[in-house]
């Protein structure tokens, strides 16, 4: 039964201490993201992602009861870290989700129909893959103009190819499986075959891939923000907070809290996804188990 399978996999998952740690972290971040308005109430509820100005002075301020993580770039780091969690989830889920959907569509068309459709789609995929992801995202963001939404668009535009290839490969494999032939022999329509036999058997690796990508997407977005291409200053985003610290780097007493808090949040967030993704991969992809 499916329940058994889930139970078995869940058991396997929970036997793996790193996976449990990952899940724990993830849940922790989800709670923070969900309760952000309670943990750090926004001054302007219409615009909660803008970190309210804590002081006019540009000088960083070390942690204090009022600003538990300190202040950098006139902003309360605590607020930024809390709401940055939401930003991170938003970036990861939207980008990974949409690019996975695009990838699935492209990959399925390519894999199932083969022939010239495959040839054309795969060449297009090749072309998009011929730009390093970071550079491509950077170029497109630059062209589209600054802003987190632009970064997300750029990462989607250049982020679907992996999934497309994965899906295509899997479909080519599944297509040869005898149960697909059997369905054909039963007279089942092509569209139903894709839907009922092919996609369900190829989707799990995609889920694993998506969960593994979450972290790296957040890193890329943060890197772009850090370089000054992503979210605008004052936006609740870890990369943006980190970019403030750049100019105070040489002074340990003024820099440490501005690097440590958002930095640690980010590392843990990425770590959480990677741990969970790793565990999922172990479960769904027995080839790489070990």
């Amino acid at each position: 039964m499916l329940r058994d399978e889930i139970k078995k996999n869940t058991k396997k998952f929970f036997k793996n201490p790193t996976a449990v740690l990952g899940l724990f972290l993830l849940v922790f971040f989800i709670i923070i993201a969900l309760f952000a308005p309670l943990i750090a109430p926004p001054k302007d509820p219409n615009n909660p992602y803008r970190i309210p100005i804590a002081t006019w002075s540009l000088e960083p301020k070390p942690p204090s009861p009022e600003h538990p993580f300190g202040v950098i770039g006139q902003r309360d780091i605590f607020y930024g870290v809390i709401w940055g969690t939401r930003t991170a989830f938003r970036i990861g889920l939207i980008v990974a989700g949409i690019s996975a959907i695009i990838g699935i569509i492209m990959g399925s068309l390519s894999g199932y129909f083969g022939g010239w459709i495959d040839e054309v789609l795969m060449r297009i995929t090749d072309i998009f893959m011929s730009l390093p992801f970071l550079v491509a995202a950077m170029v497109l963001t630059t062209v589209l103009g600054k802003g987190l939404d632009k970064v997300m668009i750029a990462m989607i535009v250049f982020g679907w190819m992996g999934t497309a290839r994965l899906i295509r490969g899997n479909i080519l494999q599944v297509k040869e499986e005898q149960y697909v032939l059997a369905a054909k022999a039963l007279g089942v329509r092509d569209s139903l075959i894709i839907l009922k036999h092919v996609i369900p058997n190829t989707i799990f690796p995609v889920i694993v891939q998506v969960s593994m990508r979450m972290g790296s997407l957040v890193i890329t977005a943060a890197a772009l923000s850090f370089l000054g291409l992503g979210a605008e200053p004052g936006y609740a985003d870890w990369g943006t907070l980190l970019s403030y610290s750049r100019n105070w780097l040489t002074q340990f007493d003024k820099a440490w809290f501005s690097i440590v808090y958002p930095g640690v949040a980010m590392v843990l967030f990425v770590l959480a996804w990677n741990l969970v993704g790793d565990a999922l991969r172990d479960i769904f992809d027995p080839r790489l188990r070990g």
Partner: protein
Amino acid sequence: MNEIILEVKNLKKYFPIRAGVFRRIVAWVKAVDDVSFNINRGETLGLVGESGCGKTTVGMTILRLYEPTAGQVLYGNKDISKLRGKELREMRRKMQIIFQDPYSSLNPRMRIKNIIAEGIITHDIAKGREAEHMVAELLKRVGLSPDQMNRFPHEFSGGQRQRIGIARALAVNPELIVCDEAVSALDVSIQAQILNLLEDLQKDFNLTYIFISHALNVVKHISDRVAVMYLGKIVEIADKKELFSNPLHPYTKALMSAIPIPDPELKRERILLKGDVPSPINPPSGCRFHPRCPIADPKICSREEPELREVKPDHFVSCHLV
């Protein structure tokens, strides 16, 4: 008993080999090369031969899971290779296939119930409750408990899965079933169970089987007539008793002698063949068996392709030297 249900005429199936810079077709795998035979209603035709000789391809092409390169497959009197759309689907209802691999032939993410009901629903034989009822009946018929229909394939053993595969095929009331190595992957004790089941079903539903196997002993057990294939061709076809008591083609003879018999005291003369089965990409000229044939006559065998001749009533052989 003598109504011809399926007639295969000069069937060919070539697979292209693409290579080179432009992925052009550089050669063809002549997997099935001019094969003709027919099957009567209710009989079992065994198809034997070594791996790669084209048995599966014959089966798949008959069902039009592969498009034939040339030739005809007449079912009743309809040419299957010309059917399209609805007609083709209707035809597929009459012919089913059971696969060798009990692992990859069932979708691991579907419940047994849905696997078996898929055909029933596709062909509007029944719906909902009724379909479920039918599934239960089928499961009982193949020796499984209907309670198990909500399970997933991986919860079953190989033999049980093969039964599920059989139930799936039976669900659409087929007339003809192609059993492609249906028992090869099973342990001996399980293999016997499935063979018995197939025999029972044949009787009950008046099924016609094309039984594909590389195991001569299994084919012998279950078939009425047997065709022996070598490199995409049928080299001998005859009634089972006739073929086993009186094999004419040197390949058939060698094949029979090569099979170890579980009786240490039975000492037979072995015909040991030289070399390996050649590749179907560039099959040998003339008689395809001649490079390995112990009695080959260099004059004709390597030059002329022998035809399938009826040397005795209902015993066809394709050999120059018979």
